[in-house]
C-alpha cells in the first residue's frame, strides 16, 4: 500500500514526459491561436504595440495558470450545473487581482492597459482550458497546462505585435528604428511607415499569414485539417 501511495504522489508532482508535453505542446503543435484558432479577439486588439502585447501576455499566463490550478483543486466539488459560472468567477477574481496589483505597483502601465486587462475575462483560451483540461486533471498538471497555453498565446501575440509595430510605426518597444527623419536609428529619406499595419484589419492578415506559415513549416499539422 505504501509503495502505491508514493508512486501516486510522484505522479501528482513529478515532471516527466507527459508534463513536458503539457508545457511544450501549446507552443507549437497545439498552439491556441494558430492551431486551435482561439483567443483571436484579443490577439487582434492588443497587438498594435509591443509593450502592451508583452504585459498582456504576462497577465494571461498568470491568469490562465492560476485559473487552471484553482478550478482543478475545486473540480470534485463544482456542481456540474453551474460549472461555467464558477469558472467565470475564478477568472474574474484573478483578473481583478491582476488589476488591483498593477494599479498599486505601476500606475502608468495600469492607466495604459486598464481596458485590456478587463478583456482577459473574455479570452476564450482560458475558459477553454478550464473546461477541456482543468475539470478533468490534477492541479499540478492543470497548472502546467495553463502556463503552457499562456506562453503559447503570448508568443503569437508578441510576434504579431513586433510585425505590426515595426512596419506600422518603424519602432519596437517605442525605440525608433526605421523611418524618414534623423531621430530614427536607420534613416531612409522619404520612407513612410505603412499605417495600415496599425489598423485592425492588418492583425487579420498577419495572423492569417502566421497560421499559413506555421502549417507549411510543421508537417504534423497538415493532416489535422
Amino acid at each position: 500500500m505504501a509503495d502505491v501511495q508514493v508512486a501516486k504522489k510522484e505522479a501528482a508532482f513529478g515532471f516527466g514526459k507527459k508534463e513536458r508535453k503539457l508545457l511544450v505542446d501549446p507552443l507549437n503543435d497545439n498552439n491556441p491561436i494558430t492551431v486551435q484558432v482561439l483567443g483571436i479577439c484579443s490577439a487582434l486588439a492588443v497587438t498594435t504595440l509591443l509593450d502592451k502585447a508583452l504585459v498582456m501576455s504576462i497577465a494571461v499566463i498568470f491568469v490562465c495558470a492560476f485559473a487552471n490550478l484553482f478550478t482543478s483543486l475545486l473540480r470534485m466539488y463544482i456542481p456540474k450545473q453551474v460549472r461555467m459560472i464558477v469558472q467565470l468567477v475564478i477568472i474574474a477574481f484573478l483578473v481583478t487581482v491582476v488589476e488591483l496589483t498593477l494599479k498599486a505597483v505601476d500606475y502608468n502601465i495600469y492607466k495604459e492597459l486598464s481596458v485590456f486587462i478587463g478583456l482577459i475575462i473574455t479570452n476564450c483560451i482560458i475558459m477553454g482550458r478550464l473546461e477541456a483540461f482543468a475539470m478533468a486533471n490534477n492541479p499540478w498538471r492543470s497548472f502546467l497546462d495553463g502556463v503552457g497555453n499562456g506562453i503559447g498565446y503570448g508568443i503569437i501575440l508578441i510576434i504579431v505585435a513586433m510585425i505590426r509595430e515595426f512596419f506600422g510605426k518603424g519602432s519596437l518597444l517605442g525605440y525608433k528604428i526605421l523611418g524618414p527623419s534623423s531621430d530614427f536609428l536607420i534613416t531612409i529619406p522619404g520612407y513612410q511607415p505603412n499605417n495600415l499595419m496599425v489598423l485592425f484589419p492588418s492583425a487579420m492578415f498577419v495572423i492569417g499569414v502566421l497560421i499559413w506559415v506555421h502549417r507549411a513549416w510543421n508537417r504534423k499539422l497538415i493532416d489535422i485539417s
Partner: protein, 249 residues
C-alpha cells in the same frame, strides 16, 4: 450529481470567499492607489509645462513631482463667470480637500454649463515666468478625452499641451497622448486672431494651412483629432471671462 441545495450552498460560499478576499485587497491597497492617482494627476497637469521644467521631466520620481507641484503651482478654482471660489465653497460642492486638483472634471462635465467649476493652475518657472494651465474635456471616438493646455502670460500663445484619453485606440486615437511630436505642434499656436476674435486651434486632416491657428490631424484617427479641436474650442472659451479680466487688470 449535486442536489440543488448543494449547488446553492457551494455557489454562496464561493462567492462570499471571493468577495471577501477582493474587498480586503481593495481596501488594503486603497491608500497606495489614492497616492498613485494623486501623483498621476499632478504629473498630467505638470506635463503641460514639461518643456519649461526641463529635459529630465519623464525621469522625475513621484516625490519630486509632488514637490514641484506644491512649490511652483498656485491653484485656483473658478466659476463660469471667471470669479475665484473659496476653498470652503469647493468643499461644499463635494470635493474633499477643496483644491483645484481635487476637482473631478468628469463629474463637472455632467453638470449644466453655467454651474461648472474650472481649475486654473499658475506655474511659476525657475526664471520667474508665469504660465497658466487650463483644463479642457471632450469626447473622442470611444470615450472621453481631456487635456491640460499651458499658456504664456499673454494668455493667448500656447506654451505646451498634454492630452489623455479613456479608451482611444492604441496607435491611432491614443496618439494624442503617446505621440509627443503631434502634441508639440500646438506650441506657439495662438487662440486669438490679431483682431482679438476668439479662434482656438483647429486640427486639420490632410495638413494645416494656417500657421497660427491650425495643426495637422492624425491619419487613421480623424474622429479623435476632431474631438481634440472641438474640446479646445469649447473648453478654452469657458476661460474667456478669466482671460479678459486678467488682461484688463
Amino acid at each position: 450529481m449535486h442536489s440543488t441545495r448543494q449547488t446553492i450552498i457551494f455557489v454562496f460560499i464561493m462567492t462570499a470567499i471571493v468577495a471577501l478576499v477582493l474587498s480586503f485587497m481593495s481596501t488594503g491597497l486603497k491608500p497606495v492607489h489614492d497616492k498613485n492617482e494623486a501623483v498621476y494627476n499632478k504629473k498630467a497637469i505638470l506635463s503641460a509645462v514639461k518643456d519649461q521644467i526641463g529635459d529630465g521631466f519623464d525621469a522625475l520620481t513621484d516625490d519630486q513631482i509632488s514637490d514641484i507641484f506644491t512649490k511652483q503651482i498656485e491653484q485656483k478654482v473658478m466659476d463660469m463667470e471667471g470669479g475665484f471660489i473659496s476653498k470652503e465653497d469647493v468643499m461644499a460642492a463635494g470635493y474633499k480637500g477643496g483644491m483645484a486638483e481635487n476637482l473631478d472634471m468628469a463629474k463637472e462635465k455632467k453638470k449644466p454649463e453655467s454651474d461648472r467649476l474650472l481649475p486654473v493652475y499658475i506655474y511659476t518657472a525657475d526664471d520667474n515666468k508665469k504660465y497658466y494651465i487650463f483644463n479642457v474635456r471632450g469626447n473622442g471616438l470611444w470615450d472621453e478625452i481631456w487635456g491640460n493646455i499651458a499658456f504664456e502670460s499673454d494668455l493667448n500663445t500656447i506654451a505646451g499641451v498634454s492630452f489623455d484619453h479613456k479608451a482611444e485606440t492604441p496607435g491611432l486615437g491614443a496618439e494624442i497622448k503617446d505621440n509627443k511630436d503631434w502634441a508639440g505642434q500646438f506650441i506657439g499656436k495662438k487662440i486669438y486672431a490679431d483682431d482679438g476674435m476668439y479662434k482656438s486651434v483647429g486640427v486639420i486632416k490632410g495638413g494645416a494651412k494656417d500657421p497660427v491657428h491650425e495643426v495637422d490631424g492624425i491619419s487613421g484617427a480623424t474622429i479623435t483629432a476632431d474631438g481634440v479641436a472641438e474640446m479646445m474650442k469649447r473648453g478654452l472659451k469657458y476661460y474667456e471671462p478669466f482671460i479678459k479680466m486678467s488682461k484688463k487688470g
